[in-house]
């Protein structure tokens, strides 16, 4: 799932939990799912800095992204 989808799902979950009373079982499931989304989203935001790469086509036709400064 993309970062965007995770955040959207998290927003949905928060809205659902905020808006109505539900069975505890359902609330619990949603909360657990929300926590998982939150964890995944946070992990993605704390990724390492990326270097600039160049996309080249090798002579055998395979595409390859290599660091610009390399």
């Amino acid at each position: 799932m993309s970062f965007e989808k995770k955040v959207q799902r998290l927003e949905e979950i928060v809205r659902a939990l905020e808006s109505k009373d539900m069975s505890l079982e359902k609330g619990l499931k949603l909360f657990e799912e929300g926590i998982a989304c939150l964890r995944d989203a946070s992990t993605e935001l704390s990724k390492a800095e990326a270097a600039v790469q160049v996309l080249r086509e090798r002579t055998d036709g395979i595409l390859e992204a290599t660091d610009l400064r390399a």
Binding site: V14, D21, L24, E44
Partner: protein, 441 residues
């Protein structure tokens, strides 16, 4: 020669143009002897010179030259003497021959000249000029011997002039628009956090530098991948198309920035090339165009999912500010906990009634009942993450493990399980007692 040709003359010239052939192919000239180029025109009187020079071509009745020799000699003199020149004039009577050659007359108020543009040159022009359009043409002055006419062999038509450029642009714009290439409903949103941004531009241009610096400032976790392309010159369209295809085939980019820094209208023309526009429109991921020019919109701008005024602006549109996202996600986390807490509070109220019944069923002695109530009301099931949030209740399930949230769900004699922090109580319902409140499920 009429020094001030009337309009009908100009029109008739146009008609004749279509029948004109390519001078170089006329067999007529193949066997001509061409006098050496620097034959300066002589005063008429000197042509009738004494017999001493009568053997020279054209200097005596005996050595009279043919008309073809005369016109061809004139052609050579003129071609040798005049460099290609830029000429401004109004286009009249343009004929596009099926061979691809163009014939027309350039005129202004007082003069006109016949023009030819060979297919090989005409192909490179953006569009054929319209009748009456003023153009600026680079042409080599020559003579069309078959008519003995001065003729301008047009090599290039300046495309930076508004008329022709606009015509070619509008023609292609209309065509692509009719195909729906620019339709609003084709526009895709830019992803919230692209893991990879592909940049199709010159690897050593200022545009790339600007984009990289904006991305690394705003969102350093996003990968920038450059697909180098020539952005101006004759090979630019092909090069841009290839780079776009490379990115599409690679498949790892989440968004593409296509562009270059500012340039003249002619410099930006590659971004109006049909092949490039189609390639941009056909990309599997959203495309942001960043052709830096304030005035002119390019067709790539229209085909892109988003148009940015400059490469820097394109980069800002492509990636979010990472700190904003971090703040947003943190806030969502806090909201999630708050909302869960509120849910638990309301569930707790609903469960309290059931808890009373369970406690009674579970234990007769007063002391144990009190403890059970505390256990139910004061702690949440240890298995759930809600435990830390909702110290204060137990989960009651029926014999099948389904949660019991209302007294009406159980009848006297039914088995129930109360799950507490440290285990579960298996009990049988003695009786149920409704508090009289409607419990929402």
């Amino acid at each position: 020669m009429n020094s001030r040709p009337a309009r009908p003359a100009a029109r008739s010239g146009g008609r004749q143009g279509g029948t004109q052939g390519e001078p170089d192919t006329l067999a007529l000239f193949d066997d001509l002897e061409v006098p050496p180029a620097p034959v300066a025109p002589r005063p008429e009187g000197r042509a009738r010179r004494p017999a001493a020079r009568s053997d020279e071509p054209g200097l005596s009745p005996e050595s009279a030259i043919s008309v073809a020799t005369l016109t061809l000699a004139t052609r050579d003199i003129i071609e040798g003497a005049v460099e290609p020149l830029w000429v401004r004039g109004e286009v009249v009577g343009l004929k596009e021959h099926r061979s691809g050659h163009w014939y027309f007359t350039l005129k202004d108020e007082n003069a006109q000249i016949r023009c030819v543009m060979w297919a090989s040159d005409a192909r490179r022009a953006l569009a054929a000029p319209d009748e009456g359009m003023t153009i600026i043409a680079l042409g080599k002055l020559t003579v069309f011997p078959a008519r003995g006419e001065l003729q301008l062999r047009v090599l290039r038509i300046d495309s930076s002039g508004d008329g022709l450029w606009r015509k070619a642009f509008e023609k292609l714009r209309k065509k692509l628009e009719a195909e729906g290439l620019f339709a609003a409903e084709r526009k895709r949103p830019i992803p919230m956090l692209p893991a990879c941004v592909a940049v199709v531009t010159s690897a050593d241009g200022a545009a790339l530098h600007d984009i990289v610096s904006v991305v690394s400032r705003r969102c350093p976790i996003t990968q920038v991948v450059v697909a180098h392309a020539q952005v101006q010159g004759e090979d630019a369209p092909k090069s841009l198309v290839k780079a776009l295809h490379r990115v599409a085939r690679w498949g790892k980019a989440d968004v593409v920035i296509l562009g270059r820094g500012g340039g003249s209208r002619e410099d930006l023309w590659a971004f109006n090339d049909e092949r490039v526009v189609r390639a941009a429109a056909g990309m599997p991921v959203p495309v942001i165009s960043a052709v830096g020019h304030e005035v002119d919109v390019t067709l790539c701008d229209l085909a892109a999912d988003l148009r940015a005024a400059t490469p820097s602006a394109a980069a800002e549109a492509a990636v979010p500010r990472l700190s904003d996202l971090v703040r947003h996600v943190r806030r969502l986390g806090a909201d999630l906990r708050d909302a869960a807490m509120a849910q638990v509070e309301s569930a707790r109220e609903r469960l309290a009634d059931v808890g009373v019944a369970v406690a009674r069923a579970a234990s007769h002695p007063i002391e144990r009942r009190r403890l059970a109530l505390e256990g139910i009301a004061g702690r949440l099931h240890a298995l759930s993450p809600l435990a830390t949030l909702a110290r204060g209740y137990a989960v009651i399930t029926d014999g099948e493990g389904a949660p019991v949230t209302s007294v009406t769900a159980v009848k006297p004699g039914d088995a129930i399980v109360a799950r507490l922090r440290d285990g579960s109580i298996h009990a049988r319902t003695e009786r149920t007692e409704s508090s009289g409140e409607e419990v929402n499920e």
